[in-house]
Chain length 311, copies 2
């Protein structure tokens, strides 16, 4: 199986330069002395999440339109990039999607098709075939992984002697790309995945040596709605085996507390999925290496009422 | 009177490089088409405000300790920089200062001296004389103004064709420095100050052609606690006459609403003083030029309960 290379990620960095923000590493005065902490604030991206990187890298010249299925940040990212490039986007969403997210995609110019959750993929494939548009997958794609990998490239550029990189895991696209960049550019650094304990399929998969699926009844319960994917793909699993050192899980209470810490102490609005790495840093010290640590804050699209409650 | 030069600001940029964060310009998808908006998120600085730039530039090699008077971000900035440089800091605060801010300065290693509000300056001068330490003023200093001016330098570097720059005004140090940099590097851009209507002494001063003081009974009422300074200094006024095109005022309701917009739509926690520029952008369109606009978000140190209420 071909895996993403550092060269792919360098190419992606050029492709996404006019679309994604080059986010800084934000130092945290509240970090521990023996493991100083920086945040990689991907919540500052247009549409509020790292997904814009992979979407931009996967939408290529010559495409006359695109289709995606997503209830969340990926759909918004595809809609945003398509509008920037002046091509139509069709996003298939499950009928459980909040109206505010549907409106967000529509405001970005996308056609939003609402279907029963079980029909998402088949309907998206049917629309793609009918219009002759490619399907832009949320994580199971070399181009998407290479795009997300630019997060790791920037971390290594800004902090070459980084020692620990904490990355959320859902379908695995982000950590596959980030891990590939870090292994190549900062090989002494440990790459640690973070999952909610309610959706720890990647941790179990890494231990089992094969892709293990978790029941959606469990994964749907986590407050981290971006991390509910029940399994990795074979492609992301192949990357994770190569480039991830360990996976840590965090509780729902820890995730909520981390959202509050990020708002109060680093003045950043994180969605629960984006706060899992900070939760691991704060509450799982004994499971993590010491040293200069970067926590990827992957996104900030949180319901305002939930944010108010957690602050 | 000698004013700050572009050369002073370039020197300051070198001095502060290891202390202050080089913040990016964050594009806002919610800006108007005819005046696209970027935020300059100084809330991401260590201690959560731009004040760290001026403090770092004013604390020079050979100083064996420093004294400051401040109830807010300047005191934290001086404490932070002094700790980084390994010298003692004494901060004189009025007895109206919240315990959490006193604790914040103490956690940064500062000696905090609590006095009656009227005694702040005299007590700070007395302590400075007794210890042989210089007093680091919050705004009335060429070094402080040059340090704050690095915000403008970075804006011009990142967006050379910027057309409108919105900057909060309190004592005037930030806009004096930012305006100086913008005039030199992006001379077509308009530099617009923003004040609470309850503390609009700078607007009145600019109209009158001299420094006008406002009654503290009025300025103390604004929610924007960083902008309650009742008057400019002669030094900042001299800069403002040269480099500021206009001053806009915003209401308390507008400031609160802008804090909510920044958290919900740009995932940034702003303190009320930091949100006044966004309030002007959102609610005073008719008073502002059109074109590519940067709003300086000067800080993010907000009471969590207030943040929760405004989100």
């Amino acid at each position: 199986m071909r895996l993403v290379t550092l060269g792919d990620i360098h190419s992606a960095a050029e492709t996404i330069a006019g679309t994604a923000l080059r986010t800084p590493l934000v130092p945290c005065a509240w970090g521990d002395a023996d493991r100083p902490l920086w945040l990689k604030p991907e919540n500052l991206q247009p549409i509020g999440a790292f997904k814009i990187r992979g979407a931009r890298n996967a939408i290529r010249p010559g495409m006359t339109g695109v289709v995606a299925y997503s209830s969340g940040n990926h759909g918004q990212a595809v809609a945003y990039v398509a509008r920037q490039l002046g091509i139509p986007a069709i996003v298939v969403v499950p009928d459980t999607t909040p109206d505010v997210k549907i409106a967000g995609m529509q405001n970005l110019g996308a056609d939003v098709i609402v279907v029963a959750p079980a029909e998402r993929v088949s309907r998206a494939e049917e629309l793609a075939a009918r219009h002759g548009y490619p399907l832009i997958p949320p994580f199971d794609s070399l181009d998407v992984i290479a795009g997300q990998g630019t997060v790791g490239l920037e971390i290594a550029e800004d902090l070459p002697d980084v020692e620990v990189v904490l990355v959320p895991i859902s379908g695995g696209g982000l950590i596959s790309g980030v891990g590939t960049a870090i292994r190549a550019l900062a090989p002494r650094a440990k790459v640690i995945g973070v999952e909610p304990a309610l959706a720890a399929d990647a941790r179990e998969s890494l231990a089992a040596g094969r892709v293990v699926s978790w029941p959606i009844e469990s994964t749907q319960q986590t407050i981290a709605d971006g991390l509910r994917s029940p399994q990795l793909s074979e492609l992301t699993f192949a990357h994770i085996r190569e480039v991830v050192d360990a996976i840590v899980t965090v509780t729902e209470e820890e995730i909520g507390a981390a959202v509050g810490v990020l708002a109060r102490s680093s003045r950043l609005v994180a969605e629960p999925s984006g706060a899992v790495t900070t939760a691991a840093y704060l509450y799982h010290r004994e499971e993590l290496p010491i040293g200069r640590t970067v926590a990827v804050l992957s996104g900030g699209n949180i319901n305002p009422a939930l944010l108010a409650a957690l602050v």
